[in-house]
């Protein structure tokens, strides 16, 4: 397989696994974070459609991030599960400490910590490390992203 094809195939597989791990964690009550719902409400207020659209958005985002992983693998001239896992840690840190906390500024339906109760924006903001979605949320997100990176690194490097 060419490098491009390997990125597309293994990037997609790893993203599906990441999505499944996050969804499974939510179903197992380890966290309330439902990434497809969170992303889908960027484009629709409808709960059911949001989960579907959000799934699509998450898969697209996963492909973009896996492209960044692959770029790093190419730059370092090697790819392995531990290297991928390391990148997964950085990825999780980025999502938890930068991406999610800044979401209320751009999400059209997300409330802010300071908004008036009569404000029409109704989605609960994630808070620091997304702790508003449950105290185990950072751990779950970290584990899922490390698994994503490790899997991508192992498969891409094989």
């Amino acid at each position: 397989m060419s490098g491009g094809l390997r990125w597309v195939v293994w990037g997609f597989v790893s993203t599906v696994v990441l999505t499944a791990l996050l969804s499974g964690s939510q179903r197992m009550r380890l966290t309330r974070l439902d990434l497809p719902f969170l992303l889908g409400t960027l484009v629709t207020p409808d709960r059911d459609r949001a989960k579907l659209y959000g799934l699509g958005l998450h898969l697209v985002a996963g492909m973009v991030f896996s492209g960044l992983y692959v770029a790093v693998f190419i730059a370092w001239g090697r790819a392995s599960w531990w290297l991928g896992g390391l990148l997964g840690m950085l990825h999780a840190g980025f999502v938890l400490m930068l991406l999610l906390p800044s979401l209320p500024a751009v999400h059209p339906r997300m409330a802010t910590e300071s908004q008036d109760p009569t404000d029409v924006r109704t989605l609960e903001p994630p808070g620091f490390l997304a702790l508003h979605y449950g105290t185990r949320t950072p751990l779950v997100a970290l584990a899922a992203h490390v698994a994503f990176g490790a899997m991508l690194g192992a498969l891409y490097g094989a």
């Binding site: 109760p117 009569t118 997304a130």
Partner: protein, 614 residues
């Protein structure tokens, strides 16, 4: 302190879950996210440990309440010496066309000072998992008060300042002048981000939208007789007890409200009983709610699919077997009625009458133009084969006592009905090329007929009896005419009716189910009085007039909002058992429909008229 009477509660809901609201402004029962989930508020079962959510004026008040017309939106009016406070309670039906994301579940309480100046007291004491958990409440500032338990987040948003009063409890106080409003929105979710619905004007928009949606649904009711108000209320109650995603109808919104005050007959009714199928389908179809009937029958066939040809007595709203039953020792029970039970072990009983109920429900749907898939038709035939094998086995019977198996007349009657309906469907060509053992069906039906005519009839007593060769009667025998086994005007039916009234009758036209209930000190059973109305309505002349009078008597046993419990204590008129009870409301609807169907033309013009209106 004497607890509020069962009939002093109102019910609100959203087709997933239901809450009971007491006259003193307390939400004293709420299970989220589904009817059969653990409770968040269970003060009705234990004022201390159960938890609740109270809104009321500080000063003593005269209380009146009503549903907004043709809705399940409750309005409680507190009239104090200084002013009038109105609390509007509902579980909103959200407008999906709007630009707002809807919360998974919401309990909305809107307060309005109608006149004068009133001090509002608020007390919020959530106790998840039947009071077994007491997690701490966190102040999320403008994002509301948060409580997390077992992966679920409960958020209370309000514009009234609340402060922690004791562990796991918030209290607030607000002085409201005429025209002032206050809002409380309690939501629950296991999804992050949670949706935090807006308050203020947007909260009242949800009230309006919910009321409009319920009114639109109620307007589809085809019944146009003199008891329309009671019938529509019953239809609304039935719809509240219907689980929207599956079409299943739970028997009641509660668990463990006692059949005997202070006693141990406390059962969990937050499940769907197969034996209620025929009655429920008939009620929905009779009122013109064909989609609800079809959805319910489809759920029924799906639920029984995995266990066929043997059926469980009850299933949960998703059609899963729920044989587990546990006691909750931490709750003292309503008026000390212990134990409080969660789950229902009756699920594993053998109740042969269930088979007849399912097949009759399907037959009714097909009569109304419904169609079944080939697999479902095959399943019906398998049920028929099972009945042909099992009809003479003893069973626990329709009332599911836990005292062993007996040859119940009613179970035989239901088996007879099942075979009769299968043959009817065969005659209509419903089985489309499937092999139907018609001769065998006919043969067993004749055997059942013979056995019921001989062994279920007691010559000395001149009545049909509850158990073959026995000498007790049971109110379920009133259904012999309804099921088409006996003519309502036949000598045997009239004698049986009289014997039932003599032995089981109580004040106010009430009927006990059987002599066991009398011995146990239980109340009279809600639906039995309505069954008798149906029987009398089919007897021409004096019988029909008596039916009309009896029906009006039965209506008097509903509470001020038109809601019925499972049972009524004849001496006090107090409601007993789980509340509100779907089967009692199904009985009311069936009886009203029967009175309409048998109303003489003259009667329709000048019959009971306005005077008979409840």
């Amino acid at each position: 302190m004497r607890p509020a009477r069962i009939q002093d509660h109102a019910v609100i809901g959203d087709g997933h879950s239901a809450a009971l609201v007491s006259r003193d402004g307390g939400v004293v029962w709420l299970c989220w996210p589904r009817f059969d989930s653990p409770s968040l508020f269970a003060a009705i079962l234990d004022a201390e440990a159960g938890g609740g959510f109270w809104l009321s004026p500080e000063a003593p008040a005269r209380v009146s309440r009503e549903y907004l017309p043709d809705t399940n939106v409750l309005r409680t009016r507190f009239e104090t010496d200084d002013g009038v406070l109105v609390v509007t309670d509902l579980m909103p039906i959200h407008d999906t066309r709007g630009g707002e994301t809807q919360p998974e579940r919401e309990l909305l309480r809107c307060v309005h000072c109608e006149r004068g100046e009133v001090t509002l007291l608020a007390r919020y004491a959530p106790r998840p998992d039947f009071g077994r958990a007491r997690p701490s409440l966190r102040d999320g500032g403008r994002l509301g008060w948060r409580l997390e338990h077992a992966g679920w987040l409960y958020t209370l948003l309000t514009d009234v300042p609340l402060t922690p009063a004791s562990e796991g409890e918030l209290r607030g106080r607000a002085r409201l002048r005429s025209g002032a409003r206050a809002h409380f929105s309690l939501t629950m979710t296991d999804v992050g981000p949670a949706v935090l619905p807006p308050l203020g004007r947007r909260a009242w928009e949800r009230v309006d939208h919910t009321a409009m949606t319920w009114r639109r649904w109620a307007a589809r009711c085809r019944y146009d007789g003199p008891y329309r108000e009671a019938v529509v209320r019953s239809a609304l109650a039935l719809k509240l007890l219907t689980f929207g995603p599956s079409g299943a109808v739970v028997a009641a919104a509660t668990t463990s409200l006692p059949e005997v005050p202070g006693g141990a007959s406390n059962w969990d009714y937050r499940f769907c009983w197969v034996r209620d199928a025929s009655f429920t389908a008939r009620a929905f179809l009779g009122l013109g709610y064909e989609a609800e009937a079809e959805s319910f029958v489809t759920w029924l066939l799906r639920a029984t699919w995995l266990t066929q040809p043997r059926m469980s007595v009850l299933y949960d709203v998703y059609g899963r077997n729920r044989p587990d039953e546990e006691e909750v020792p931490g709750l003292r029970g309503y008026a000390g009625s212990r134990p409080v039970r969660v789950g229902n072990a009756a699920a594993t009983q053998q109740q042969l009458d269930s088979y007849g109920e399912v097949i009759d429900a399907v037959a009714q749907l097909i009569r109304h133009g419904g169609a079944l898939a080939r697999d479902e038709l095959r399943m019906l035939l398998r049920l028929g084969e099972y009945i042909m094998k099992m009809w003479d086995a003893p069973d626990e019977g329709i009332w599911e006592p836990r005292g062993g198996r007996w040859p119940h007349t009613f179970s035989r009657l239901s088996c007879w009905m099942a075979l009769d309906r299968l043959l009817e469907l065969h005659g209509r060509g419903a089985f489309r090329g499937l092999r139907v053992p018609a001769e065998h069906l006919r043969g067993v039906r004749e055997q059942l007929w013979e056995e019921l005519r001989t062994r279920a009839w007691n010559r000395q007593l001149r009545s049909y009896v509850r158990i073959l060769d026995g000498d007790d009667v049971d109110a379920d025998l009133l259904l012999m005419a309804w099921y088409g086994f006996e003519d309502a005007c036949s000598e045997r039916m009239r004698c049986t009716d009289q014997r039932i009234v003599t032995r089981l009758g109580a004040r106010g036209g009430l009927l006990f189910r059987n002599e066991d209930d009398l011995r146990a000190g239980e109340g009279a059973f809600g639906i039995c009085g309505f069954w008798r109305v149906v029987l009398l309505a089919r007897q021409e002349g004096a019988g029909r007039d008596a039916a009309e009078r009896l029906f009006v008597q039965q209506l008097a046993h509903a509470n001020d909002l038109g809601l019925l419990a499972e049972e009524v204590a004849p001496e006090t008129g107090d409601a007993l058992g789980n509340f509100p009870q779907a089967l009692s409301h199904v009985g009311l609807i069936s009886a009203a429909l029967e009175l309409e169907a048998t109303r003489p033309w003259q009667g329709a013009l000048g019959g009971p008229g306005e005077e008979a209106r409840p």
